[in-house]
Amino acid sequence: MQDLLGRLTALDPDASETLKVVSYFDALVARSVGVESMLRGAAVLSGATVGYRDDRMTVRVRADGVRVDPRDMADAWPRREIGSGVVAWIERDGDAHANDAMILERLALALGIIRARRSVGQESAVELAISAYASADERAGALARLRVTDGPLVVVASPPDPAPAAHPSAIVATRHGLTRATILPSGLDPLAAWAQSDAPRLGVGLEGVPLPESWSSALIAARLTSTAEPVVAAADLGAALIVAEHAESGTPHPDAAALAALDERSLELLDAVAGEQSVRAAAARLGRHHSSVQEKLATLSGTLGYDPRMPRGRTRFALARMLLTLSGWERPDVGGTRDRASVEPRAGRQ
């Protein structure tokens, strides 16, 4: 069969062959055609069978545009790598034709673009669906690609591993390190999304809000999880969530900074007092005498500028303590009673 290039040249002898090849592939790229159409273009332009192999498949198209059985390439044929393990070739036996190299180059370029476009898979669709920078249309399109139900959704934040069994999920780089985002239907028990044996700590985002908001609240909730409380729902934080969200962007609040400046034992003592509601119970938990706890508490109240036993002071301490946890200032694995949420940065923060 006479190659298309020859026929096109007969129609329009003035335009260069390079231009025709380029415009042919440009038109295919503009319309995002599939691999087979790309190969067909190269096959008819070159007048030879053209092949393609990636990690999934081998495709060959004959010079008349008909797809033929897969067969591996011969060493002698001109070929071009498109990516790792991905290659296209022209099944030219004997001398290469003048335009083979150019056709192969344009084919490889076009296939590379198409492959990049199509590799927008589940992971990036999840990322797009929860991104505050994506438009509502983009997010809706991403959700459609994920084929999630129309009902209300919630985003759950968890450590990168393990992944949930069935739900759309992706590892997302956040300013607090790599975190897994999972989109679940509202009302589903978030723990049920993971196999029972390896459910990680979960921060459950708000329901009934756009997904980017659900995601940002889930990130806060996840950082507040602990061994004692492995699942934290943002909705349970109440108005504290507003404080937490606000603190995300600003400089550290002085109350949090004051707690950060304390030694481990002091913080332990304050936690015990806040948790036990009385100095006596706190002293029992700490295994210390209650009068020494009382004494220490008086000193600490002076340092902090408020008494965590008083109603306002209790609220102040609780918020400051939350902000301290969120800030990630605490040193890991000290003391053992306070366990950092495992979603907190593993590598350095940005």
Partner: protein, 321 residues
Amino acid sequence: MTDTIARPPFDPEIEAALSATGGFPSLTLDMIPVLRGAPMMAGPDPREVLAERGFTVEDVTITGYEDAEIVVSVIAKAGRTGIGPGIFHTHGGGMILGDRWAGVTQFIDWAERYNGVIVTVEYRLAPEFPDPFPVEDCYAGLVWTAANAEQLGIDPSRLVIGGASAGGGLAAGTALLARDRRGPALAGQVLICPMLDDRDLTLSTAQIDGIGVWDRTSNITGWTALLGDRRGTDEVSIYAAPARAADLTGLPPAYIDCGSAEVFRDEDVSYAMRLWEAGVQAELHVWAGGFHGFEMFAPHAALSQAAAAARDSWVNRLLGA
């Protein structure tokens, strides 16, 4: 207005082929002499293809309209014996271009498969020979073919007429003439993206204006060459513009195809619907994103392969058995 009208997009593969050629111009009457000097369709010479496939060609001079001499070519496999179907071919070219070889290779598979004979007619072209010259020359060729069926080895009960574009319109018009004059019986009519309507009133003609292949301007040029001042008036016969035929009863089974993005779409779809209304068997295929003549333009494209396969299937059902 025409700038903003919505239309179906072209199929990507055929669009790529079109863009690689720099597009297809809108034809005007003054361009006809130049166009006749150039090949209408890029591709191998049909006569070479026929020779390669082992077909022989015999040119016969016959009597055309008003007793003028015209030529038909009889095409059959070398050394053919016995009888088989006859395929009477009316070529395309907008009534103004092309010769009897244009598009004839679309039919050689069938001739080969069924031991058939192709007769292709060199009808005279507009504007030098306006209506009714083209369709009457075609009819004369059909009458000659039927009259010589025995000698040509054609089974008279399996005589099919077919053509593309203007050739599709001429095939439909010739079939109407054969019905109304009680002429040769036809077993089928293959109307490939046929040009049927001179009136320029459809939505599809408005959609394909200045784009694609054989756009509105080109179409008006073709019809004006054929009909002159009569174009769009009540003076146009149903044989020139079969879309005008009010009565389609008694016509042979029809195969009609076209692209969704061509001027002829609406007139072709409408013709199929009215054939059904008239109780005539018809099969219609509208190929998504096809511009006019996409199969000849980009035979490699998936769309073209599908269109050829569908037509092949119909002919197999008609002639196979």
